[in-house]
Amino acid sequence: MTAPRWARRLLARAVDPSEVDDRLGDLEEVHRRRVGRHGAGVAALLTGLDATGVAAAAVGGRLAHRVREARPGGVEMRLALRLLGRTPVLSAAAVAALTVGIGLATTGFTVVNAALHPAFPFPAGSRYVDVAAAHADTRDAVAPDADLVAAWREEAAGVEHLGRYRGGAANAAWNPGEVERIAALEIEPASLAALGFAPALGRLPTSDDARAGSAPVVVLGDGLWRRRFGADPGVVGRTVEVAGVVRRVVGVLGPEAVAPAPADVWLPLPEAAMDGVRLFGVLTPGADPETVAAGLATRARGPEGAALRVDVRRPGAGPEGRAAGGLAVALLLGLLTVLAGNVGSLVAARTAARASELAVRSALGASRSRLVGQLVAEVGVLVAGATVLGVGASRWVTAAFVASEGDELPIWMDLSLDLRVAAFVALAAGAVTLVAGVWPALAATGRRGPGGLRGGAAPGRGHGPLVVAQVAVAVAVLGCAAMVHRGWAGGLAARNPDVPVDRLVVAELTLPPDTPWPPAALLRGLDGAAGVEAATLATHVPGTDARRGPVQLEGSAGDGPVVARIEVLPGYFSAVLAEPLAGRVFSDDDARSGAPPVAVVDRAFVEAHLGGGNAVGRRLRWAGSMPGSDEPGPWLEIVGVVPDLGVAGADPASTGAVYRPLDATADPRLIVRTAAAPRVPPGPAIRAALYDVDPAVGVQSVRVLGDALDARRRVYRWMGSLATGAGLLVLALAVLATYALLAFEVTRRTREVGVRVALGASAGAVLRPILARTAWRLAAGAALGTALGALLLALVRATLVMRFPATGTATFPVLAGVVAVAGVLAAWVPARRALAVHPMEALRTE
């Protein structure tokens, strides 16, 4: 007949003890009434619900009361702020460390978030997918011809639109002598409307425009229209020459037209087009890409009836990208945790030094939760400050990156601060507060209560391993960072090619498939160009990393040394003003087909692999890695030796370079020597000169070699500084934490020191055990750090492929010494202070 037991228990637990009795009485009374009215079963259910409601209201009321009590601006906050002022160095160090951690984690998450959640800035953007077909067995790509697309369009479920397009670059000849390489996109006219793009001016292309024999038309992209035509509304009806064809401008698209790819000009895709054509789709709302892909695969067959494997993918990172992004964020969170743990140990040391204060407050009636709240609020203030600074720095870095490199980012990558990033920051800040604040607070106010009045020793335990770990991590990380920095600096210094870098202009070249070989006629187009002294082609330009591979020297067994392998036109060495040191360079005869195979090597090769002896007349060959064959290549006779041109790269396994005449299959770079150092890269002039010879030749990324090398050096220097900066931060934290922990330990033993001095012990005898223990810990940390550093360095060497200075191994002992001195000082200063205290005072301290 009584109310269910669980309901009574729930109520008894939830409500205030002073009210339990009458509440239980009420429950009992109501329950009996219910039994009379509904029967026992229903009554039990209703009373259970009733008790749950009353219990929830009681708990909710208490929580609300607590929140009102602990409002910001309350006594906890005021105490926290006052304490920060009292320990400014510690607070600043903690904020700095957490700022770096939170800033890095936020930046990493912002990038990963943008990569995983692509946002195309147009209405159908969220339903845009890339579609690709391949043979189910061989995985070879299948060209999406008109038949296949037609079959899919008829039957495909879940697809609103399937479109064909072809993206690429094209030459636009604005005026005689002014040629620009622009992004051109050929697309089926119906697709533009299907994507929801409306013309800002004029009209979109129609299917009639795509028919063979129709008058060529072009639609301008928003960017080009503004950049080139000053947003002139009268541009429609004018003609422009794109890809060697004069076309009439029929319209201008708005800035939202960025899919399948952003483009300067949009051209109607010819109906019969096949080469390089790709597919995209717009899914129906709610359609799932994988289901759509499976449906498409069953609805059509590839050439010769082969089964198809269809890939339907939203833009953004693929599975590998997701994994890499997740790993990067996990690593950054790991770093943040380490930093938070460091700050936590600083806070623990500071809290332990306040044992008396906590004990007094506890004795005066402060509950444990109140003390923990106070300690967590102190760390919360630090974390809040670090979060504001870290997120601010992250936004600043991101904005700077977008401003300088935004053009390189995929158009769907949106690096703004969205809800997901905000939630991540909030969670990270919460987790940091937990690690750095809650743990030390719980430890300091443990179940046995603050031990300050009893002279409790609990907080000091476990600090030995902490000191050892701190020192080890600091030595390892900073040592590695310094080595990496020096490795890069050394690698760059060794790569200053002895060529006139300020007068060499380099560019990437796209040659049409029908270019006659060797393309001497093409380069002759540059002969008349103003200021051009010489022009040549090579697979790699001086001062940059070349492709590497093993070569075999005649008379030596097995795979030979790994060297840089470069192919050049015969005039290359004279064009870059590199005179042969021995023998000769290539002649035009060497480049003819059927000519005896020859090679030119650089001085580093001769010194490393031929003992500095005579190289001319010796023979070598590519060791078993000719494209498409496992057989070694033909023997090449070395006909000359040239100076080092800095192409061997920083790979420690690679020494020297071997040059061969340029092959038609190679993807060459253009190198032009000018009479004087150009102030701006002469891209338009070079393009115009080559355009006259062949309008289809593409010239991209025109730069002065000196500028290009400087930019690379800046990147390396910046990365080196970043690594060293991170290492220094860890070291500073480690020294500070060591100091805080040791100082705390020594202070805790003031009483012992005082007693021993009073009993006649000498200063040395008292200090020796403290310093000895410190020294042991530092030594252990340094040894562990050196071992850890060597391990890390091996890892860095394997992943970054770099040379390190031979003297660099001295870095670790030097660092260990620095940390040791800082550690001994950290123990010495408080120990001396303890010795200076009068014995009576020492006895009164606790």
Binding site: T2, E19, D21, D22, R23, L24, G25, D26, E28, E29, V30, R32, D50, G53, V54, A56, A57, A58, G61
Partner: protein, 111 residues
């Protein structure tokens, strides 16, 4: 500072407590009374919360009565409305009356 604001449910609880009298007013009977007269469902948890608030404002006092067998031997927490509580109810009634004035032809008389 003026007297604390009175909420509608607070007013109902005070009126029920006044009607039941100090010997019979407790959470269960107050909830029953409101339910009976207004016809709306009343959760006892809300009555507890409201009584606590009223106690905080000094409008009611509570004390334990005698143990009773139908309550499993537990006592009732009896509610007595204080003089301030009565004044608060009167003030609320005055307010309503003043606002009602002149609306009798549309709303009917407030008796």
């Amino acid at each position: 500072m003026g007297s604390p604001h009175i909420g509608e449910f607070e007013l109902l609880v005070l009126l029920a407590a006044l009607r039941l009298g100090p010997e019979e007013a407790y959470a269960v009977s107050i909830a029953d009374d409101i339910r009976l007269r207004t016809g709306r469902s009343v959760r006892r948890a809300n009555v507890y919360t409201t009584l606590k608030r009223l106690e905080g404002k000094g409008w009611v006092r509570t004390e334990l009565g005698d143990p009773r067998p139908e309550r499993g031997g537990k006592a009732r927490r009896l509610v007595r409305v204080s003089a301030d509580g009565v004044a608060a109810v009167q003030e609320a009634a005055e307010g309503i009356r003043a606002m009602w004035h002149g609306l009798g032809h549309r709303l009917g008389d407030l008796s």
